[in-house]
Protein backbone atom coordinates (compact mmCIF):
# COMPACT_ATOMS: atom_id res chain seq x y z
CA UNK A 1 0.00 0.00 0.00
CA UNK A 2 2.72 2.37 1.01
CA UNK A 3 4.87 1.45 -1.97
CA UNK A 4 2.00 2.02 -4.36
CA UNK A 5 1.46 5.37 -2.72
CA UNK A 6 5.12 6.23 -2.98
CA UNK A 7 5.26 5.44 -6.65
CA UNK A 8 2.21 7.60 -7.22
CA UNK A 9 3.89 10.30 -5.28
CA UNK A 10 7.11 9.98 -7.24
CA UNK A 11 5.16 10.63 -10.38
CA UNK A 12 3.70 13.65 -8.69
CA UNK A 13 7.15 14.82 -7.63
CA UNK A 14 8.58 14.42 -11.10
CA UNK A 15 5.65 16.38 -12.33
CA UNK A 16 6.92 19.30 -10.28
CA UNK A 17 10.44 18.85 -11.71
CA UNK A 18 11.86 18.27 -8.27
CA UNK A 19 14.46 15.56 -8.14
CA UNK A 20 18.00 15.93 -6.92
CA UNK A 21 21.27 14.07 -6.84
CA UNK A 22 24.28 14.85 -4.68
CA UNK A 23 27.84 13.60 -4.40
CA UNK A 24 30.35 14.54 -1.74
CA UNK A 25 32.66 13.41 0.99
CA UNK A 26 32.04 12.64 4.64
CA UNK A 27 34.25 12.64 7.67
CA UNK A 28 32.84 10.02 9.98
CA UNK A 29 33.07 9.92 13.75
CA UNK A 30 32.72 6.42 15.14
CA UNK A 31 33.05 6.40 18.92
CA UNK A 32 33.18 3.12 20.79
CA UNK A 33 33.54 3.54 24.55
CA UNK A 34 36.21 6.27 24.65
CA UNK A 35 37.90 5.48 21.34
CA UNK A 36 37.06 7.67 18.34
CA UNK A 37 37.75 6.84 14.69
CA UNK A 38 37.44 9.36 11.87
CA UNK A 39 37.20 7.61 8.52
CA UNK A 40 36.79 9.74 5.41
CA UNK A 41 34.61 8.31 2.67
CA UNK A 42 32.62 9.24 -0.45
CA UNK A 43 28.91 9.76 -0.15
CA UNK A 44 26.02 9.91 -2.61
CA UNK A 45 22.42 10.83 -2.00
CA UNK A 46 19.31 11.42 -4.01
CA UNK A 47 15.84 12.58 -3.29
CA UNK A 48 12.43 13.41 -4.60
CA UNK A 49 9.88 15.92 -3.44
CA UNK A 50 6.77 14.57 -1.83
CA UNK A 51 5.37 18.01 -1.34
CA UNK A 52 6.71 21.49 -1.24
CA UNK A 53 9.42 21.53 1.44
CA UNK A 54 8.91 17.84 2.24
CA UNK A 55 11.10 15.29 0.52
CA UNK A 56 12.13 11.68 0.58
CA UNK A 57 15.90 11.17 0.61
CA UNK A 58 18.19 8.16 0.51
CA UNK A 59 21.90 8.20 1.27
CA UNK A 60 24.74 5.78 0.73
CA UNK A 61 28.36 6.02 1.75
CA UNK A 62 31.18 3.66 2.56
CA UNK A 63 34.71 2.57 1.93
CA UNK A 64 36.38 4.66 4.61
CA UNK A 65 38.65 3.57 7.40
CA UNK A 66 40.73 5.00 10.21
CA UNK A 67 43.33 3.61 12.54
CA UNK A 68 43.75 4.46 16.20
CA UNK A 69 46.75 2.93 17.94
CA UNK A 70 46.72 -0.61 16.58
CA UNK A 71 43.02 -0.80 15.81
CA UNK A 72 41.64 -0.26 12.33
CA UNK A 73 37.99 0.63 11.94
CA UNK A 74 36.35 0.44 8.55
CA UNK A 75 32.93 1.73 7.66
CA UNK A 76 31.95 -0.79 5.04
CA UNK A 77 28.73 0.98 4.19
CA UNK A 78 26.04 3.27 5.52
CA UNK A 79 22.62 3.33 3.96
CA UNK A 80 19.86 5.58 5.20
CA UNK A 81 16.38 6.78 4.27
CA UNK A 82 14.91 10.04 5.47
CA UNK A 83 12.03 12.38 5.41
CA UNK A 84 13.59 15.71 4.65
CA UNK A 85 12.10 19.02 5.69
CA UNK A 86 13.39 22.14 3.91
CA UNK A 87 13.04 25.74 4.97
CA UNK A 88 12.35 28.30 2.24
CA UNK A 89 15.40 29.93 0.70
CA UNK A 90 16.67 33.07 2.39
CA UNK A 91 18.77 34.66 -0.31
CA UNK A 92 20.75 31.79 -1.76
CA UNK A 93 20.68 29.60 1.37
CA UNK A 94 18.31 27.29 3.15
CA UNK A 95 18.37 24.85 6.05
CA UNK A 96 17.00 21.33 6.20
CA UNK A 97 16.35 18.58 8.71
CA UNK A 98 16.53 14.83 8.14
CA UNK A 99 14.52 12.27 10.14
CA UNK A 100 14.73 8.59 9.35
CA UNK A 101 16.56 5.37 9.80
CA UNK A 102 20.12 4.26 9.04
CA UNK A 103 22.01 1.00 8.84
CA UNK A 104 25.78 0.91 9.25
CA UNK A 105 28.16 -1.99 8.73
CA UNK A 106 31.51 -1.73 10.49
CA UNK A 107 34.62 -3.90 10.36
CA UNK A 108 37.37 -3.92 12.98
CA UNK A 109 40.86 -5.27 12.70
CA UNK A 110 43.69 -5.27 15.21
CA UNK A 111 47.39 -5.17 14.61
CA UNK A 112 48.56 -8.13 12.56
CA UNK A 113 44.99 -9.31 12.22
CA UNK A 114 44.94 -10.35 15.88
CA UNK A 115 41.34 -9.33 16.16
CA UNK A 116 38.59 -9.11 13.65
CA UNK A 117 34.94 -8.44 13.89
CA UNK A 118 32.10 -6.92 12.01
CA UNK A 119 28.63 -5.85 12.85
CA UNK A 120 25.61 -4.08 11.45
CA UNK A 121 24.02 -1.31 13.48
CA UNK A 122 20.60 0.11 12.82
CA UNK A 123 19.02 3.03 14.63
CA UNK A 124 16.91 6.14 14.35
CA UNK A 125 18.90 8.68 12.37
CA UNK A 126 18.72 12.44 12.14
CA UNK A 127 20.61 15.19 10.44
CA UNK A 128 20.73 18.93 9.91
CA UNK A 129 22.21 20.72 6.95
CA UNK A 130 22.61 23.98 5.14
CA UNK A 131 22.89 24.45 1.40
CA UNK A 132 23.86 27.39 -0.76
CA UNK A 133 23.04 28.00 -4.41
CA UNK A 134 26.15 28.43 -6.47
CA UNK A 135 26.67 29.08 -10.18
CA UNK A 136 23.05 28.40 -11.17
CA UNK A 137 19.56 27.85 -9.87
CA UNK A 138 20.09 24.09 -10.05
CA UNK A 139 23.47 23.64 -8.36
CA UNK A 140 24.09 23.84 -4.62
CA UNK A 141 26.86 23.25 -2.11
CA UNK A 142 25.75 21.46 1.04
CA UNK A 143 27.15 21.06 4.54
CA UNK A 144 25.46 18.45 6.70
CA UNK A 145 25.87 16.74 10.05
CA UNK A 146 24.16 13.39 10.52
CA UNK A 147 23.82 10.96 13.42
CA UNK A 148 23.42 7.35 12.26
CA UNK A 149 23.62 5.41 15.51
CA UNK A 150 23.76 6.29 19.19
CA UNK A 151 23.25 3.49 21.63
CA UNK A 152 25.06 1.63 24.40
CA UNK A 153 28.38 3.53 24.32
CA UNK A 154 28.57 3.40 20.52
CA UNK A 155 27.89 6.41 18.30
CA UNK A 156 28.25 6.83 14.56
CA UNK A 157 28.09 10.32 13.09
CA UNK A 158 29.37 12.12 10.02
CA UNK A 159 29.91 15.64 8.76
CA UNK A 160 29.64 15.93 5.00
CA UNK A 161 30.33 18.36 2.18
CA UNK A 162 28.48 17.83 -1.09
CA UNK A 163 27.68 19.16 -4.51
CA UNK A 164 24.02 18.93 -5.41
CA UNK A 165 22.21 19.01 -8.73
CA UNK A 166 18.50 19.68 -8.86
CA UNK A 167 16.42 18.71 -11.84
Amino acid sequence: MVFIGLSLNLQNAFATDWFYFEVGASRGSVTVLDTEFNPVMPRAKMGVALYEGILLEVQYMGGGDDKVANTKMEIEEVSAAYLRLDTPFRGSMRLYVLLGSAETTLNIKGAGGTTAGSGTYKDFSWGVGIEDRVWSKYTLLTLEHTSYYNHDDVSIEATSLGFKLEF
Binding site: L8, L50, I54, I108, G110, D123, H151
Partner: protein
Protein backbone atom coordinates in the same frame (compact mmCIF):
# COMPACT_ATOMS: atom_id res chain seq x y z
CA UNK B 1 -1.97 20.34 -6.84
CA UNK B 2 -5.65 19.54 -6.22
CA UNK B 3 -7.04 19.18 -2.65
CA UNK B 4 -7.50 15.41 -3.09
CA UNK B 5 -3.89 15.01 -4.13
CA UNK B 6 -2.80 17.07 -1.14
CA UNK B 7 -4.74 14.82 1.22
CA UNK B 8 -3.17 11.77 -0.37
CA UNK B 9 0.25 13.32 0.11
CA UNK B 10 -0.37 13.98 3.79
CA UNK B 11 -1.70 10.44 4.21
CA UNK B 12 1.35 8.99 2.53
CA UNK B 13 3.63 11.22 4.52
CA UNK B 14 2.10 10.10 7.80
CA UNK B 15 2.29 6.46 6.74
CA UNK B 16 5.90 6.81 5.72
CA UNK B 17 6.88 8.61 8.93
CA UNK B 18 5.16 5.92 10.98
CA UNK B 19 6.90 3.21 8.97
CA UNK B 20 10.31 4.80 9.47
CA UNK B 21 9.87 5.46 13.17
CA UNK B 22 8.52 1.96 13.78
CA UNK B 23 11.73 0.57 12.30
CA UNK B 24 14.04 2.91 14.18
CA UNK B 25 14.71 1.01 17.39
CA UNK B 26 18.43 0.46 17.84
CA UNK B 27 19.74 -2.92 16.86
CA UNK B 28 23.20 -4.39 16.45
CA UNK B 29 25.59 -6.29 18.66
CA UNK B 30 27.50 -3.48 20.35
CA UNK B 31 28.91 -5.96 22.84
CA UNK B 32 30.99 -7.70 20.16
CA UNK B 33 32.06 -4.32 18.78
CA UNK B 34 33.24 -3.12 22.17
CA UNK B 35 35.00 -6.39 22.84
CA UNK B 36 36.93 -6.15 19.59
CA UNK B 37 37.86 -2.53 20.21
CA UNK B 38 39.12 -3.21 23.73
CA UNK B 39 40.91 -6.38 22.73
CA UNK B 40 42.79 -4.52 20.06
CA UNK B 41 43.30 -1.35 22.10
CA UNK B 42 44.91 -3.17 25.01
CA UNK B 43 46.60 -5.89 22.94
CA UNK B 44 44.83 -8.58 24.94
CA UNK B 45 46.13 -11.97 23.95
CA UNK B 46 44.63 -14.29 26.57
CA UNK B 47 41.80 -14.52 29.08
CA UNK B 48 41.52 -15.76 32.63
CA UNK B 49 38.65 -16.27 35.07
CA UNK B 50 38.94 -15.30 38.72
CA UNK B 51 36.50 -15.15 41.61
CA UNK B 52 36.09 -11.69 43.12
CA UNK B 53 36.33 -13.17 46.60
CA UNK B 54 39.39 -15.05 47.76
CA UNK B 55 38.86 -18.76 47.06
CA UNK B 56 42.36 -20.11 47.52
CA UNK B 57 42.66 -23.83 48.00
CA UNK B 58 45.60 -26.07 48.79
CA UNK B 59 46.89 -28.29 47.46
CA UNK B 60 46.43 -26.27 44.29
CA UNK B 61 44.96 -28.09 41.32
CA UNK B 62 44.67 -25.22 38.88
CA UNK B 63 40.90 -25.53 38.93
CA UNK B 64 38.46 -23.21 40.63
CA UNK B 65 36.66 -24.78 43.62
CA UNK B 66 33.27 -23.57 44.71
CA UNK B 67 30.76 -24.77 47.26
CA UNK B 68 27.60 -26.34 46.02
CA UNK B 69 24.33 -24.45 46.55
CA UNK B 70 26.15 -21.14 46.57
CA UNK B 71 26.84 -18.12 44.40
CA UNK B 72 30.13 -16.53 43.40
CA UNK B 73 30.88 -13.40 41.45
CA UNK B 74 33.49 -14.09 38.79
CA UNK B 75 35.75 -11.64 37.01
CA UNK B 76 36.99 -11.86 33.47
CA UNK B 77 40.64 -10.86 33.22
CA UNK B 78 42.31 -9.88 29.96
CA UNK B 79 46.08 -10.32 29.77
CA UNK B 80 48.24 -8.64 27.16
CA UNK B 81 51.54 -9.87 25.77
CA UNK B 82 53.42 -7.87 28.41
CA UNK B 83 51.56 -9.64 31.18
CA UNK B 84 49.48 -6.62 32.18
CA UNK B 85 45.99 -7.50 33.35
CA UNK B 86 42.67 -5.76 32.72
CA UNK B 87 39.34 -6.46 34.36
CA UNK B 88 36.98 -6.89 31.41
CA UNK B 89 33.32 -5.99 31.18
CA UNK B 90 30.89 -6.88 28.43
CA UNK B 91 32.37 -10.34 28.20
CA UNK B 92 30.43 -13.34 26.95
CA UNK B 93 30.03 -16.17 29.44
CA UNK B 94 29.00 -19.73 28.69
CA UNK B 95 29.07 -23.04 30.46
CA UNK B 96 29.49 -26.67 29.57
CA UNK B 97 28.31 -29.35 31.94
CA UNK B 98 30.77 -32.17 31.43
CA UNK B 99 29.12 -34.64 33.75
CA UNK B 100 26.33 -36.98 32.81
CA UNK B 101 23.74 -35.59 35.17
CA UNK B 102 21.60 -32.69 34.22
CA UNK B 103 23.15 -29.58 35.68
CA UNK B 104 21.36 -26.70 37.29
CA UNK B 105 24.42 -24.58 37.70
CA UNK B 106 24.20 -21.34 35.79
CA UNK B 107 26.26 -18.30 34.95
CA UNK B 108 24.85 -14.90 34.09
CA UNK B 109 26.37 -12.55 31.53
CA UNK B 110 27.52 -10.44 34.48
CA UNK B 111 29.69 -13.35 35.63
CA UNK B 112 27.55 -14.44 38.60
CA UNK B 113 27.96 -18.21 39.02
CA UNK B 114 25.18 -20.03 40.88
CA UNK B 115 26.10 -23.54 41.82
CA UNK B 116 23.60 -26.34 42.11
CA UNK B 117 22.92 -28.46 45.17
CA UNK B 118 24.67 -31.79 44.95
CA UNK B 119 22.71 -34.81 46.09
CA UNK B 120 24.98 -35.80 48.96
CA UNK B 121 27.98 -34.68 50.96
CA UNK B 122 31.55 -35.31 49.80
CA UNK B 123 30.70 -35.14 46.10
CA UNK B 124 32.20 -33.11 43.33
CA UNK B 125 30.93 -32.12 39.96
CA UNK B 126 33.01 -30.61 37.20
CA UNK B 127 31.84 -28.05 34.72
CA UNK B 128 33.65 -25.97 32.14
CA UNK B 129 33.20 -22.23 32.06
CA UNK B 130 33.58 -20.75 28.61
CA UNK B 131 34.62 -17.12 28.35
CA UNK B 132 34.89 -15.21 25.11
CA UNK B 133 35.97 -11.67 24.39
CA UNK B 134 36.53 -10.40 20.88
CA UNK B 135 38.25 -13.19 19.03
CA UNK B 136 39.60 -14.77 22.21
CA UNK B 137 38.11 -17.69 24.08
CA UNK B 138 39.10 -19.53 27.21
CA UNK B 139 37.85 -22.53 29.10
CA UNK B 140 38.16 -22.89 32.86
CA UNK B 141 37.47 -26.02 34.83
CA UNK B 142 35.26 -25.41 37.83
CA UNK B 143 34.81 -28.02 40.52
CA UNK B 144 31.61 -27.81 42.52
CA UNK B 145 32.14 -29.46 45.86
CA UNK B 146 29.87 -30.63 48.65
CA UNK B 147 32.78 -31.61 50.84
CA UNK B 148 32.24 -30.43 54.36
CA UNK B 149 34.31 -28.52 56.85
CA UNK B 150 36.29 -30.46 59.43
CA UNK B 151 36.11 -28.13 62.46
CA UNK B 152 37.50 -26.04 63.90
CA UNK B 153 38.10 -23.09 61.61
CA UNK B 154 41.63 -21.70 61.66
CA UNK B 155 41.73 -17.94 62.29
CA UNK B 156 44.50 -15.67 61.07
CA UNK B 157 45.15 -12.33 62.73
CA UNK B 158 46.91 -9.74 60.55
CA UNK B 159 47.98 -12.59 58.27
CA UNK B 160 49.46 -14.79 61.00
CA UNK B 161 47.86 -17.87 62.52
CA UNK B 162 46.15 -16.78 65.69
CA UNK B 163 46.53 -18.52 69.00
CA UNK B 164 43.83 -18.66 71.66
CA UNK B 165 44.33 -15.05 72.73
CA UNK B 166 45.85 -11.87 71.26
CA UNK B 167 46.38 -8.33 72.50
CA UNK B 168 44.94 -5.48 70.44
CA UNK B 169 45.39 -1.75 71.11
CA UNK B 170 42.16 0.06 71.85
CA UNK B 171 40.77 1.90 68.78
CA UNK B 172 43.30 0.09 66.60
CA UNK B 173 42.28 -2.46 63.97
CA UNK B 174 43.02 -6.15 63.56
CA UNK B 175 42.51 -7.99 60.29
CA UNK B 176 40.88 -11.40 60.51
CA UNK B 177 40.77 -14.16 57.89
CA UNK B 178 39.70 -17.78 58.21
CA UNK B 179 40.70 -21.09 56.68
CA UNK B 180 39.05 -24.46 56.95
CA UNK B 181 40.13 -28.06 56.44
CA UNK B 182 37.65 -29.96 54.29
CA UNK B 183 36.69 -33.58 54.03
CA UNK B 184 38.54 -33.97 50.71
CA UNK B 185 41.81 -33.09 52.46
CA UNK B 186 41.97 -29.57 51.07
CA UNK B 187 42.45 -26.34 52.99
CA UNK B 188 40.34 -23.45 51.74
CA UNK B 189 40.08 -19.75 52.54
CA UNK B 190 36.44 -19.31 53.60
CA UNK B 191 36.60 -15.72 54.90
CA UNK B 192 34.01 -14.42 52.44
CA UNK B 193 31.53 -17.07 53.57
CA UNK B 194 31.63 -16.21 57.28
CA UNK B 195 28.69 -14.34 58.83
CA UNK B 196 30.91 -11.95 60.76
CA UNK B 197 28.05 -9.86 62.13
CA UNK B 198 27.16 -12.69 64.49
CA UNK B 199 30.79 -13.60 65.26
CA UNK B 200 31.04 -10.87 67.95
CA UNK B 201 28.46 -10.26 70.65
CA UNK B 202 29.96 -7.33 72.60
CA UNK B 203 28.62 -4.08 71.11
CA UNK B 204 31.69 -2.17 72.34
CA UNK B 205 33.62 -3.88 69.57
CA UNK B 206 32.71 -4.23 65.94
CA UNK B 207 33.69 -6.11 62.82
CA UNK B 208 33.63 -4.43 59.42
CA UNK B 209 33.34 -6.53 56.26
CA UNK B 210 33.33 -3.88 53.55
CA UNK B 211 35.98 -6.08 51.93
CA UNK B 212 34.53 -9.62 52.01
CA UNK B 213 38.02 -11.11 51.87
CA UNK B 214 38.90 -9.82 55.33
CA UNK B 215 37.15 -8.77 58.49
CA UNK B 216 38.38 -5.69 60.34
CA UNK B 217 37.97 -5.74 64.13
CA UNK B 218 38.13 -2.66 66.37
CA UNK B 219 36.92 -1.80 69.88
CA UNK B 220 36.71 1.43 71.88
CA UNK B 221 36.39 -0.17 75.30
CA UNK B 222 39.00 -2.20 77.12
CA UNK B 223 37.75 -5.75 77.46
CA UNK B 224 38.25 -9.26 76.13
CA UNK B 225 36.27 -9.89 72.97
CA UNK B 226 35.61 -13.45 71.90
CA UNK B 227 35.38 -13.79 68.13
CA UNK B 228 33.58 -16.88 66.89
CA UNK B 229 33.36 -17.14 63.10
CA UNK B 230 30.91 -19.74 61.84
CA UNK B 231 31.14 -21.35 58.43
CA UNK B 232 27.67 -22.18 57.13
CA UNK B 233 26.78 -23.94 60.38
CA UNK B 234 29.40 -26.58 59.69
CA UNK B 235 31.91 -25.42 62.28
CA UNK B 236 33.42 -22.52 64.16
CA UNK B 237 36.74 -21.20 65.39
CA UNK B 238 37.49 -19.02 68.39
CA UNK B 239 39.98 -16.33 69.28
CA UNK B 240 40.00 -13.96 72.24
CA UNK B 241 41.07 -10.41 71.44
CA UNK B 242 42.22 -8.62 74.59
CA UNK B 243 41.79 -4.89 74.05
CA UNK B 244 43.83 -2.52 76.22
CA UNK B 245 45.49 0.90 76.37
CA UNK B 246 49.01 -0.30 75.61
CA UNK B 247 50.30 1.60 72.58
CA UNK B 248 47.52 4.21 72.71
CA UNK B 249 48.03 7.89 73.59
CA UNK B 250 47.13 11.49 72.82
CA UNK B 251 43.43 11.26 71.94
CA UNK B 252 42.30 14.64 70.56
CA UNK B 253 39.27 16.22 68.97
CA UNK B 254 39.75 18.74 66.18
CA UNK B 255 37.57 21.37 67.90
CA UNK B 256 37.18 22.25 71.58
CA UNK B 257 33.80 23.89 71.00
CA UNK B 258 31.12 23.66 68.36
CA UNK B 259 28.12 25.89 67.75
CA UNK B 260 25.35 24.77 65.45
CA UNK B 261 21.66 25.30 64.75
CA UNK B 262 18.81 22.90 65.28
CA UNK B 263 18.91 20.12 62.65
CA UNK B 264 22.32 21.33 61.49
CA UNK B 265 25.12 18.74 61.48
CA UNK B 266 28.81 19.06 62.19
CA UNK B 267 31.48 16.42 61.79
CA UNK B 268 34.14 16.18 64.48
CA UNK B 269 37.36 14.28 63.92
CA UNK B 270 39.19 12.33 66.62
CA UNK B 271 42.86 11.47 66.23
CA UNK B 272 45.26 9.53 68.43
CA UNK B 273 48.77 8.10 68.42
CA UNK B 274 48.54 4.33 68.02
CA UNK B 275 51.81 2.48 68.32
CA UNK B 276 53.63 5.64 67.28
CA UNK B 277 51.47 6.60 64.30
CA UNK B 278 48.95 9.43 64.23
CA UNK B 279 45.65 7.79 63.34
CA UNK B 280 42.12 8.98 62.63
CA UNK B 281 40.00 7.02 65.11
CA UNK B 282 36.67 8.74 64.43
CA UNK B 283 34.95 5.57 63.23
CA UNK B 284 36.44 3.41 66.00
CA UNK B 285 36.02 5.62 69.08
CA UNK B 286 33.05 5.88 71.42
CA UNK B 287 31.08 9.12 71.14
CA UNK B 288 28.83 10.30 73.95
CA UNK B 289 26.49 13.29 74.15
CA UNK B 290 26.00 14.49 77.73
CA UNK B 291 22.45 15.50 76.86
CA UNK B 292 20.88 13.84 73.84
CA UNK B 293 17.87 16.15 74.10
CA UNK B 294 20.20 19.00 73.06
CA UNK B 295 22.34 17.24 70.45
CA UNK B 296 22.94 13.72 69.20
CA UNK B 297 26.14 12.16 67.93
CA UNK B 298 26.57 9.07 65.79
CA UNK B 299 29.29 6.43 65.90
CA UNK B 300 31.59 8.35 63.57
CA UNK B 301 31.44 11.78 65.22
CA UNK B 302 28.68 13.53 63.31
CA UNK B 303 26.70 15.69 65.72
CA UNK B 304 23.19 17.01 65.06
CA UNK B 305 21.47 19.87 66.88
CA UNK B 306 18.18 18.77 68.49
CA UNK B 307 17.01 21.79 70.49
CA UNK B 308 18.39 25.06 71.75
CA UNK B 309 20.76 24.67 74.68
CA UNK B 310 24.29 24.25 75.86
CA UNK B 311 27.13 24.32 76.06
CA UNK B 312 26.89 20.55 76.62
CA UNK B 313 29.86 18.22 76.73
CA UNK B 314 30.61 15.83 73.90
CA UNK B 315 33.03 13.10 74.95
CA UNK B 316 35.10 10.89 72.72
CA UNK B 317 36.59 7.82 74.33
CA UNK B 318 39.11 5.13 73.51
CA UNK B 319 39.76 2.85 76.48
CA UNK B 320 40.67 5.04 79.44
CA UNK B 321 41.54 8.06 77.25
CA UNK B 322 38.96 10.78 76.66
CA UNK B 323 38.69 14.22 75.15
CA UNK B 324 35.76 16.61 75.21
CA UNK B 325 34.24 19.40 73.18
CA UNK B 326 31.45 21.75 74.27
CA UNK B 327 28.49 21.88 71.95
CA UNK B 328 26.01 24.74 71.83
CA UNK B 329 22.80 24.46 69.87
CA UNK B 330 21.11 27.66 68.81
CA UNK B 331 17.59 28.01 67.67
CA UNK B 332 17.50 29.05 64.08
CA UNK B 333 14.37 31.20 64.42
CA UNK B 334 15.81 34.55 63.48
CA UNK B 335 13.17 37.11 62.59
CA UNK B 336 15.15 40.34 62.09
CA UNK B 337 17.86 42.47 63.61
CA UNK B 338 17.96 46.20 64.22
CA UNK B 339 20.60 48.77 65.03
CA UNK B 340 20.34 50.80 68.25
CA UNK B 341 22.13 53.99 69.27
CA UNK B 342 24.08 54.35 72.51
CA UNK B 343 20.79 55.02 74.33
CA UNK B 344 19.42 51.67 73.07
CA UNK B 345 16.92 53.35 70.77
CA UNK B 346 16.37 51.81 67.34
CA UNK B 347 17.61 54.12 64.59
CA UNK B 348 17.80 54.26 60.83
CA UNK B 349 19.90 57.43 60.53
CA UNK B 350 22.93 58.68 62.38
CA UNK B 351 24.51 62.13 62.28
CA UNK B 352 28.10 62.63 63.40
CA UNK B 353 30.76 65.30 63.20
CA UNK B 354 34.30 64.61 62.09
CA UNK B 355 36.45 62.95 64.78
CA UNK B 356 33.46 62.06 66.96
CA UNK B 357 32.67 58.52 68.03
CA UNK B 358 29.62 56.59 69.14
CA UNK B 359 28.77 53.05 70.18
CA UNK B 360 26.11 51.30 68.13
CA UNK B 361 24.33 48.18 69.28
CA UNK B 362 22.63 45.32 67.45
CA UNK B 363 19.51 43.55 68.63
CA UNK B 364 18.26 40.20 67.38
CA UNK B 365 14.52 39.54 67.32
CA UNK B 366 13.36 35.93 67.08
CA UNK B 367 10.11 34.61 65.70
CA UNK B 368 9.01 33.58 69.21
CA UNK B 369 8.94 37.28 70.16
CA UNK B 370 12.11 37.03 72.26
CA UNK B 371 15.06 39.27 71.61
CA UNK B 372 18.67 39.64 72.68
CA UNK B 373 21.50 42.06 72.17
CA UNK B 374 24.12 40.63 69.85
CA UNK B 375 26.46 43.62 69.51
CA UNK B 376 29.59 41.71 70.44
CA UNK B 377 28.39 38.18 69.52
CA UNK B 378 30.95 36.13 67.66
CA UNK B 379 28.45 35.68 64.83
CA UNK B 380 27.82 39.42 64.47
CA UNK B 381 29.71 41.25 61.75
CA UNK B 382 29.91 45.06 61.54
CA UNK B 383 30.99 46.79 58.35
CA UNK B 384 30.79 50.02 56.35
CA UNK B 385 29.10 49.81 52.98
CA UNK B 386 31.49 50.66 50.17
CA UNK B 387 29.52 53.52 48.63
CA UNK B 388 32.09 56.16 47.86
CA UNK B 389 35.26 56.43 45.84
CA UNK B 390 38.24 56.29 48.18
CA UNK B 391 37.95 55.98 51.94
CA UNK B 392 34.52 55.89 53.57
CA UNK B 393 33.70 58.80 55.98
CA UNK B 394 33.38 56.44 58.98
CA UNK B 395 34.98 53.28 60.36
CA UNK B 396 33.27 50.66 62.50
CA UNK B 397 35.04 48.30 64.85
CA UNK B 398 34.41 44.59 64.22
CA UNK B 399 37.08 43.18 66.53
CA UNK B 400 37.77 44.16 70.15
CA UNK B 401 35.11 46.89 70.53
CA UNK B 402 32.39 45.84 68.15
CA UNK B 403 29.97 48.57 67.10
CA UNK B 404 32.27 51.53 67.85
CA UNK B 405 31.84 54.07 65.05
CA UNK B 406 34.46 56.73 64.36
CA UNK B 407 33.74 59.65 62.00
CA UNK B 408 36.80 60.21 59.83
CA UNK B 409 35.77 62.73 57.18
CA UNK B 410 32.77 64.55 55.80
CA UNK B 411 30.32 62.60 53.74
CA UNK B 412 27.67 59.92 54.00
CA UNK B 413 27.57 56.15 53.86
CA UNK B 414 25.86 53.14 55.44
CA UNK B 415 26.82 50.99 58.39
CA UNK B 416 25.78 47.37 58.09
CA UNK B 417 25.42 44.65 60.70
CA UNK B 418 24.97 40.98 59.81
CA UNK B 419 24.20 37.99 61.99
CA UNK B 420 25.31 34.56 60.76
CA UNK B 421 24.75 35.81 57.23
CA UNK B 422 21.05 35.16 57.88
CA UNK B 423 19.88 38.62 58.93
CA UNK B 424 21.08 42.09 58.06
CA UNK B 425 20.30 45.69 59.07
CA UNK B 426 21.79 49.02 58.04
CA UNK B 427 21.63 52.70 58.93
CA UNK B 428 22.45 55.80 56.91
CA UNK B 429 25.29 57.85 58.38
CA UNK B 430 26.03 61.51 57.65
CA UNK B 431 29.28 63.11 58.83
CA UNK B 432 29.48 66.88 58.90
CA UNK B 433 32.70 68.95 59.23
Amino acid sequence: MCPLSRRINYLLLSSLLGLILSACGPSGDTKALKQNILQSKYNITSLAVRPVNTRTISPTTGDLYFDHNDSEQLQAIGINDSGAEFVLEDTTWGMTDVTATAGQTSISQDGLLKTETLAAANQTKTITLDLSFGTLTSSTTVVISSHTLTPPLAIKLNGTAAGASHNVTVCDTATLTTEGNFSDGSTRDVTSKIAWSSAITDSNGKISTSNPNQAIFSAHTNATYTITPNYKGQGTGTVDLVVGDTGFSNLKLDASSVSLDIDQTHILTATADINGSSTNVSTRARWVSADTTIFSVNSSGTITGVKRGGPINLTVQCGSATDTSSVTVEEDNIDYIEILNSDSIAITNLNLSVSSTTNLKAKLHRTDDTSEEITTDANTEWSVRDLTVGDEPVTVNNTDNKGLVTAVSSGSTEIVVKYKSKAEADIFVTVSP
